[in-house]
């Protein structure tokens, strides 16, 4: 029975925090270290963490100055002492068998990462992300990254996975960026040799603030383009990822054109937008070499012309 460290970054989640922590405490897998990272939350979260820690000796609380989700997860990684690590966001929660199932998948298959499906929780109803057919699948890093791109099975999120601690190494979440998982998930995959996936929903993912002001598009959302750009550069530099370069490039093109369009609607000519388009322009020749869809080429030409780059 190896120890699993579960890292929970916490910021303004008063209403959800207890449900989240309770779901970890009552896991059927009991050898845990539960690290609650209070990211300078201005509400009562800090006090709730301390009260919970009183009731379960496996809980330890880090109170820190606010630094964002990435910073909080990184602080948790530094503190973690388990042989496995899992991340759970504080408005989500696990099913009781989550950690046991993924732990057994890792151990029995000698895999470094195990991953499961999840449920989307909306205000009045629930939708399972997949058909939850119970299938167990084995992926190589390249296959897992491809699966991310297809949005099938493996997902580019941190909280549906169990990681063996030794593969984390010096991989950290990018402080100050959003879409932090897009920056890191593939790095974790590449540090592993084998990824196991089970098609059973064991995590509940809360969808909050739909339609609220925080859900609107902001220039910060262009971070995801940066993340994808890092990914395509990585793919171009690695022999073993040669097979997925075209898909990755097409994905990047789709994402970039979509986000640029959204950004133009609300924040035309903001610095982030110009930077994103300039980045794309730098990669444009290389992208064309990797066989992106002619439709994207057309749209890019139009885009670059509008911004006086061609």
């Amino acid at each position: 029975m190896k120890k699993i460290s579960v890292i929970v970054p916490i910021y303004k989640v008063e209403a959800y925090l207890e449900r989240c922590v309770r779901s970890i405490c009552c896991q059927t897998y009991q050898n845990l270290e539960i690290i609650l990272v209070d990211d300078g939350s201005p509400d009562r979260c800090g006090a709730i963490c301390d009260a919970l820690a009183q009731q379960d000796a496996r809980i330890c609380v880090i109170h820190k100055k606010n630094g964002g989700l990435s910073d909080a997860r990184n602080a948790g990684i530094e503190k973690a002492s388990g042989e496995y690590i899992a991340f759970l966001d504080s408005d989500d929660w696990y099913d009781v068998a989550m950690l046991e199932t993924l732990y057994r998948l890792c151990e029995e298959n000698n895999a470094e990462i195990a991953e499961c499906s999840y449920r989307n929780i909306y205000e009045n109803y629930t939708v399972a992300e997949t058909s939850s057919c119970g299938a167990v699948m084995e992926f190589t890093p390249a296959q897992a990254i491809e699966s991310n791109l297809d949005w099938k099975y493996c997902k580019p999120v941190a909280w549906n996975k169990l990681y063996r601690a030794d593969i984390i190494g010096d991989i950290r979440y990018p402080v100050g960026k959003i879409h932090e998982d897009e920056f890191t998930t593939h790095l974790f995959y590449l540090a592993a040799t084998k990824i196991m996936y089970v098609d059973i929903a064991l995590v509940n993912y809360e969808h909050r603030n739909l339609g609220s002001i925080t859900a609107r598009f902001k220039p910060k959302n262009l971070d995801v383009c940066e993340a994808f750009r890092e990914k395509i550069h990585l793919v171009w530099s690695r022999e073993d990822l040669r097979g997925i370069d075209q898909k990755m490039c097409n994905n990047y093109c789709y994402l970039l054109l979509d986000r640029v369009k959204k950004c133009e609607q609300s924040y035309p000519e903001c610095d982030e937008l110009i930077k994103t388009i300039q980045d794309a322009y730098e990669d444009y020749e290389e992208l064309k070499k990797h066989g992106i869809d002619p439709q994207y080429i057309q749209e890019f030409d139009k885009l670059f012309e509008t911004y006086h780059m061609m």
């Binding site: 207890e18 922590v21 309770r22 405490c25 009552c26 059927t28 709730i48 009260a51 919970l52 009731q55 379960d56 099913d95 009781v96 068998a97 199932t101 909306y122 009045n124 109803y125 629930t126 939708v127 399972a128 997949t130 058909s131 939850s132 057919c133 119970g134 299938a135 167990v136 089970v198 098609d199 059973i200 929903a201 064991l202 609607q265 609300s266 924040y267 035309p268």
Partner: protein
């Protein structure tokens, strides 16, 4: 905070039987909902009933991941055979069922096991939500036991039996196996299996057998089971079966047998049974009409047979409630007007279609000549309109089905009449029948009339609705338009908020500048005006102007200034006092010139500052004396000290020139040396010997005296080094309980506002010690005015010695030892022993003559 860290777990094992048949689309969710149960002590038996899709594969995959699943595979034999196969293998304490396209709430098992344990109950029933899983956002319908009010509600066997039929009828939860927890031992003991020959209600039949045996039942009004009511799913339950009606009636008969025959039931139970049977039969009839696809002739025959079913007929006749959608054709059923019934049900209570027809009919361009269509439309309209005008009794009373009901009621009355009066003669009977028929005719005529009236009204309302609809469409368009504009505006607002904020910031800064400027100007104007008024006022008055008063940190000087104020107000009561301190002089020079008139007397602050030791002060003295030649000037008690150096001589001569030139200058000095000096060099000046002004502060202090106080100079006038001071302290220590130390200098400048406070506090300090050792002039004076015995050392100039000689020589409480520290020990010893301090200088009040002396000349 009360956090439940772990959900209930126990050693009671729940066995869940899951029949699986061609359900690959939703089976994963069903099995996943078991894996996710917060109650973990369960096993599930998955019975694949010969599925032809991937269902079995999914079962095996789950079993591979989670050992709590067992998979049985058998040839297809129907859901009952699958359940029976599962039951045969079932083990554990509790039994539950789950269908392969439904799923459980995450905490369903936990709640049910908990309730079963708490109430020691053999049956737990939770609510069921019927959801279309492909459209979960619609929410679905909740089947609930809330008729029972309490939750959880525990009924023991008798209470349950009493309410059994109403529970069936009102909660809709009793027929199925879903959302229930059964006691495995009881189930096995009763040897309950599912009758495989039944294609309908096999679960109800099994339930009824179980109900007979259970000790009690617990209802929990929380949703524990989600039932997939997806439309057009090809599952068996939705398909039309020609024997549906007959099966339902068999089921009703079985139910009746279970209840012990309808005659034995209480009235409400019996009514519930009739309602239940009627509505079940009617819905089967409805399916027959809509789905059987038979020709008219065959359909009518079929219907006739069904309506003739004795149980159904009786139920229809006696039920207190018939589902709304069948109300309109009940009279036609009685009349055997099957054509109408078929037509009525085929038209259906499909509100949506009716609405559509209405809208079509109400579009003004469409000619409304098709009477049949209009009639149908009106009927459907009424269905929509009546709820709208739900409060209006008129519209309600006059619906067509109510009319039919009315007729039906009358006929019933006649029949019962006829029966009751069977002995009455035919003639009377006929007469009565005729009478009643006349009545009916009359009422019918009136009702027809009213219906015509209402139909007119409805047409009106229809037009009105058409207008409303048109208006609503317009409004909706406008709303969409507005919505778009709001979105646009929001975007623009977002874009512009920054620049607007910037503008606001700039304009706010600008405004603030303007306001500040304006405030400053107004204040300035006010200040000037006050200043002018003050000057005018002051110019008119006789004034005693104190110049060069002290506002620095030296408490001795502060005490002199305070004393001078007291003396002036005593001696010159008719003069208005104005004070201009050394600090202020430069700033207030013009002011002084402005307020001055020739009656005013200028008093120059006294102390030890006449001489070249404080050149700035001396320069100020000279300036005042030279600038105001017309006014009387008084220099308050001073010690003169010019050094014997070249500079000292030069300064002395300069002062002498100025002072001698003034025609009305009086100089008070504090010692013989100063007196002699002044008479030698300032020979044109009226010079008079006078003790220090601070003497007027003498007062009777009653503090408890304790220890010694060292008050030694640390400034340029002092000459004791650190080593000497340490020596002094060590000597004094021998004679005093404690030794405190003060420099007579305040920690900050003593402004006129705090002057009184600081001086009094200092005096209190002196008055609370037994003996004072000092080289300060005012250390000695403070000691004297607080009657504290005092040992005096000399300082760098002759000031303190001169003063001692002039005023304290004859006192028994002042011991002057000069530089001779060898005498210190002795002097302190004497001083401590002084009982009654006496000072001749205080016997006369020297300052009382000040006024006379000043004005004498």
């Amino acid at each position: 905070m009360n956090v439940k860290i772990a959900p209930l777990q126990s050693d009671k094992k729940v066995c869940i039987v899951v029949p699986v048949y061609n359900a690959e689309k939703f089976l994963g969710h069903a099995l996943n909902s078991l894996v996710s149960q917060t109650y973990t002590n369960w096993t599930a038996i998955l019975v694949d009933d010969g599925s032809t899709d991937g269902s079995l594969e999914i079962c095996r995959q789950y079993a591979a991941v989670d050992s709590r699943f067992r998979v049985l595979s058998k040839e297809n034999g129907g859901v009952s055979s699958a359940r029976n196969a599962g039951l045969a293998e079932a083990e554990g304490d509790y039994l539950a069922f789950l269908d392969s396209d439904d799923y459980l709430a995450q905490d369903a098992l936990e709640k049910m096991v908990n309730a079963a344990r708490i109430y020691n109950s053999q049956l737990v029933i939770m609510d069921i939500r019927m959801v279309d899983f492909t459209k979960p956002e619609l929410g679905g319908t909740l089947l609930s036991s809330e008729w029972l009010k309490e939750s959880p509600c525990c009924l023991d066997a008798d209470a349950f039996r009493e309410k059994r039929m109403r529970l069936v009828w009102f909660t809709v939860l009793m027929e199925c196996l879903h959302g229930k927890l059964y006691d495995m031992a009881l189930w096995k003991e009763q040897k309950i299996t599912f009758p495989e020959e039944l294609s309908l209600g096999e679960d109800f039949v099994a339930n009824m057998r179980y109900f007979e045996a259970t000790n009690r039942v617990v209802f929990i009004h929380e949703c524990g089971h989600y039932y997939n009511c997806i439309q057009n799913s090809g599952s068996l339950a939705q398909k039309y079966r020609p024997d549906l009606f007959e099966n339902k009636m068999l089921l009703m008969e079985a139910l009746e047998a279970h209840l012990g025959g309808r005659e034995s039931l209480s009235k409400p139970e019996r009514d519930a049974f009739y309602c239940y049977a009627a509505s079940n039969g009617l819905s089967a009839v409805e399916r027959f009409i809509l789905d059987s696809g038979l020709q008219e002739q065959e359909m009518h025959e079929g219907l006739q047979k069904k309506f003739a079913h004795p149980l159904f007929a009786e139920a229809l006749n006696k039920a207190s409630y018939i589902p709304d959608r069948f109300m309109g054709c009940m009279e036609a059923v009685k009349q055997q007007d099957l054509e109408y019934v078929v037509q009525y049900i085929a038209d259906g209570p499909h509100e949506k279609a009716a609405e559509k027809d209405c809208v079509e009919a109400l579009i003004p361009e469409e000619p409304k000549h098709k009477l049949g269509l209009l009639n149908r439309v009106i009927r459907k309209l009424m269905r929509i309109v009546i709820p709208l005008f739900g409060q209006s009794k008129m519209a309600e009373r006059l619906t067509r089905w109510e009319y039919e009901f009315y007729l039906h009621g009358l006929k019933k009355t006649i029949r019962s009449h006829a029966h009751a009066h069977s002995l009455v003669t035919n003639a009377v009977l006929e007469e009565q029948v005729e009478q009643v028929e006349n009545q009916i005719g009359y009422v019918a005529g009136r009702v027809e009339n009213q219906i015509w009236h209402v139909e007119n009204q409805i047409e009106h309302i229809g037009n009105h609705i058409a207008n409303e609809i048109a208006q609503r469409v317009r409004l909706e368009n406008q709303l969409t338009d507005l919505d778009n504009r709001v979105n646009d505006a929001f975007r623009q607002l977002n874009d512009r908020s920054y620049s607007v904020e910037e503008k606001i910031r700039i304009s706010a800064a600008h405004t603030q500048e303007m306001v500040e400027g304006y405030v400053w100007r107004s204040e300035e104007r006010l200040r000037k005006e006050n200043y002018r008024r003050e000057i005018n006022e002051l110019r008119q008055r006789k004034k005693a102007i104190m110049i060069a008063t002290a506002e620095h940190a030296n408490i001795g000087d502060a005490a002199i200034t305070l004393a001078e104020q007291i003396i002036l107000s005593e001696q010159f009561p008719e003069y208005f006092q104005v004070e201009i301190s050394t600090y202020e002089f430069e700033q207030k020079e013009a002011y002084l010139h402005a307020i001055l008139n020739h009656e005013d007397i200028l008093f120059i602050h006294g102390g030890g500052n006449l001489g070249d030791l404080y050149p700035v002060e001396e320069e100020l003295h000279r300036k005042i004396v030279s600038e105001f030649p017309e006014n009387k000037i008084v220099i308050l008690p001073q010690t003169i000290s010019f050094s014997a150096t070249e500079t000292g001589v030069r300064e002395r001569d300069k002062s002498a020139r100025v002072y001698n030139a003034h025609k009305d200058l009086t100089l008070f000095v504090r010692g013989e040396n100063s007196l002699e000096f002044a008479r030698t060099y300032f020979n044109q000046v009226n010079t008079i010997l006078m003790p220090d002004s601070a003497h007027v502060l003498r007062s009777n202090y009653v503090f408890e005296r304790n220890g010694a106080l060292l008050c030694l100079r640390a400034d340029m006038e002092g000459k004791l080094g650190g080593r000497e001071q340490e020596f002094i302290a060590s000597v004094v220590q021998k004679h005093a309980a404690c030794v405190n130390s003060r420099t007579n200098v305040h920690s900050e400048d003593v402004s006129r506002e705090i002057r009184g406070l600081v001086v009094r506090r200092e005096l209190m300090h002196f008055a609370s010690h037994q003996v004072v050792v000092t080289d300060r002039l005012h250390g000695m004076i403070f000691a004297a005015i607080t009657s504290t015995p005092c040992v005096v050392l000399s300082s760098r100039n002759h000031k303190i010695q001169e003063y001692y000689e002039a005023f304290f020589r004859d006192s028994n409480a002042v011991f002057f030892i000069g530089d001779d520290l060898a005498q210190l020990d002795d002097a302190v010893k004497q001083a401590v022993s002084v009982q009654n301090a006496q000072y001749s200088v205080f016997e006369k009040s020297p300052h009382s003559s000040l006024c006379a002396l000043t004005t004498d000349r």
